[in-house]
């Protein structure tokens, strides 16, 4: 395959945006592979995200977050200039519950794109990819949005490190 300059630049930026910010950072997911139209990530088991306290199975919401992140990122990579593609809808089928204390692997692929829509498929599994825990389809809009402002992300991140800037992004302030 020819060297893809856009992807070479976009890969670390996307990895940074997803792993070191907001919910991706909170979940602790790691992007293991980033290619055009294809994303792989891994999520280590965490006790904080248990949905069924009787069995220790992670909540379905985590699977939604993982697949949404993976599919959304995969959709971004197929654009000429990588930009945010808003999610139209997402459908998830849970094949069987995730086993506690084991990492969850996620793969997302863009299987079709038209002038307006990007169609994605995602799969989540633990030990056996042939026996997945969940399968999802997600569609994204192609809009003429500005390309992602990575410098703004870096600024937000830096501001969080500064004691005087922390107040602006802190979640402690109330919105009343």
């Amino acid at each position: 395959m020819a060297f893809d300059m856009t992807m070479a630049l976009f890969r670390p930026a996307l990895k940074y945006a997803m792993e070191k910010n907001g919910h991706g950072k909170t979940l602790g997911l790691k992007m293991t592979e980033i290619n055009r139209g294809e994303i792989n990530l891994v999520f280590p088991y965490k006790e904080e995200v248990v949905g069924n306290p009787l069995t220790g199975v992670v909540h379905g919401g985590v699977i939604v977050s993982l697949l949404d992140t993976a599919c959304g990122s995969a959709a971004m990579t197929v654009l000429k200039t990588p930009a945010v593609a808003p999610t139209m809808d997402l459908r998830l089928d849970y094949m069987h519950p995730a086993e506690p204390n084991k990492p969850i692997y996620v793969e997302a692929k863009v299987y079709r794109q038209t002038s307006n829509v990007i169609f994605c498929r995602g799969l989540a599994w633990q030990e056996d990819k042939e026996n997945p825990i969940a399968h999802c389809v997600a569609n994204f809009m192609k809009v003429d949005s500005k390309s992602i402002n990575f410098s703004a992300i870096a600024v937000t991140q830096l501001r969080r490190l500064m004691p005087w800037g922390r107040r602006a992004t802190s979640d402690k302030e109330s919105d009343k």
Binding site: G22, H23, T26, G51, L54, G61, L90, Y94, D171
Partner: protein
């Protein structure tokens, strides 16, 4: 884990749910699920219906440059709300298992409180169908709607 322990846990669970219903406090059901604390979801009763609320949190952001709430968090919040709706309002013995979940994003979730309401459309012997809708400013302009099936 032994069968005995599992049975005890299930009994404890049922007791706590029954107590929450008696006190009309859906929040205590919410607190039994660790994921609720992870995203910061809350529940209360308003006009005889359950109202769910997700306050803004830096850890729930998906797109930091807007900033917007992560789509997955909105999905997780709606799925959690649907589960709480079932646990709290239906007389079932265990934690419902989600089978499928379908989510439509209508607007971007801005960095402020999200509210949600659920509707149980059908309860069968094994399967329950629930819809959930999330909004920020106005209930009539939802940011996302979801539909899910649970096995009970």
């Amino acid at each position: 884990m032994s069968a005995e322990q599992t049975k005890h846990q299930l009994e404890d669970w049922q007791e706590s749910v029954a107590a929450a219903r008696l006190e009309k406090c859906p929040q205590s059901v919410m607190e039994m699920i660790p994921y609720a604390a992870f995203i910061g979801a809350q529940a209360k009763i308003e006009n005889d219906r359950l109202l769910y609320r997700l306050d803004k949190r830096a850890t729930n952001i998906g797109n930091p440059s807007l900033p917007a709430i992560h789509g997955g968090v909105i999905g997780g919040f709606l799925e959690l709300s649907a589960a709480i709706e079932i646990i709290y309002s239906l007389d079932i013995a265990t934690v419902p298992k989600v089978v499928d979940f379908s989510l439509d994003y209508l607007r971007a979730g801005r960095y402020k409180t999200i509210y949600a309401k659920c509707n149980i459309l059908r309860q069968g012997k094994k399967l329950v169908n629930v819809t959930a809708s999330a909004w920020q400013d106005d209930e009539n302009t939802p940011i996302a709607t979801a539909r899910c099936h649970f096995l009970i």
